[in-house]
Symmetry: C2
Subunit: 190 residues, 2 copies
DNA sequence: TGAAGCATGTAAGCAGTTACATGATTTC
DNA sequence: GAAATCATGTAACTGCTTACATGCTTCA
């Protein structure tokens, strides 16, 4: 049976390639830097850490005199090799599952008004997202020359910004289409 | 324990609200009309159909004189009610997991050239996508007044088109950023 | 002293994927 | 007669989420 790649394992390896971290700190890093396109719970993180350790891809280092149970991990040479191998594998096209599109596809079962509310909520979320991206971008551009990493971080932020902006435009266009649908119902067949 | 909503079940209910279908036909409909934002395998479909039947949300009808084992399903009133209830539930913001962003986030571990190839492959896929969306859009606009459904189908196509176009712009901008990174390496610190 | 945050972990369960098995029908 | 497609289903597994358990530290 073809083994699926556990992407969480590679996210851990990737973050540990930047700096040594504990499980808890990994979670925080993911929530801070990757939350727009990745998420991970403790229930996934801790077992994966254990697995990576057994495979010799990471080690527990517990630096700074073992302050109450904090287990800090570092990546091994084998870990770095595994990370690079994964990074080099071509990215397969994947179906991105959007709940909003799923519900709109069957939208004719509801009134246009109800779908308009859905689109409006989506728009509001996207607007809040845009503000965050603008902040991220500003910060990253100001430290862009400090490290190659920053350019790559910026790429992911730019992606989010562009895509979110596109969804805002879509929301406006969709609003118009649904308003037209409403009008046709009021004055049918002309 | 809070029960997760089995979205595949609602996709089935949604499609059956349009017309009666067998498991095999459902798979084909999903691959044809929803594949840009949803996918489902037989291993998920058949057990879910069984479950929906046990709950009384769908019925086996086997119309047209039972031609060799073809089991056609229809939605019940209870099924329609369940579908509407789900459609009305607000859509929660979800993390959309993009493998390409994950890999680019850790891109500094590779050479800029390798990441450029990644972005270029992504761009090519997006370009092919765009052609499909253009075709879908043309067809749907020509039959827009035939059914309310078509407006809602069009919304999902427009979403795909806008977002894909945004990713194309992003690919171009990203290319430039990585080319700059390459140049800086050749003439460092000036 | 009590809340918030730090820190690690387990158990249960669901969604979804992959591979496999089986056989009928259609088409070249 | 072979290949492609139609058609249904099961078994095994993985990835991930949710809920729960536990205890320490910091700070108002």
């Amino acid at each position: 049976m073809k083994k699926k790649e556990n992407r969480t394992a590679f996210v851990i390896l990737g973050l540990l390639s930047h700096e040594n971290l504990s499980g808890y700190q990994l979670k925080k890093q993911i929530d801070a830097g990757l939350k727009e396109f990745w998420s991970a719970g403790f229930g996934q993180l801790y077992p994966t850490l254990k697995e990576l350790r057994e495979k010799g891809l990471i080690e527990a280092v517990t630096e700074g005199g073992n302050k109450r149970g904090l287990t800090v991990f570092s990546i091994t040479d084998a870990g770095r090799a595994a990370l690079k191998e994964w990074l080099r594998k071509p990215v397969l096209q994947q179906t991105v599952k959007y709940d909003i599109l799923l519900k709109l596809y069957f939208g004719a079962a509801l009134k246009p008004e109800e779908n308009l509310v859905k689109i409006d909520n989506f728009r509001k979320q996207a607007e809040m997202q845009m503000e965050k991206y603008a902040q991220y971008e500003q910060v990253l551009r100001s430290v862009l020359d400090d490290s190659d990493d920053h350019t790559y971080f910026l790429l992911t932020v730019l992606f989010g910004r562009k895509v979110t902006k596109a969804t805002l435009e879509w929301a406006e266009e969709s609003r118009q289409l649904l308003i037209n649908l409403k009008k046709e119902k009021k004055e049918p067949e002309r």
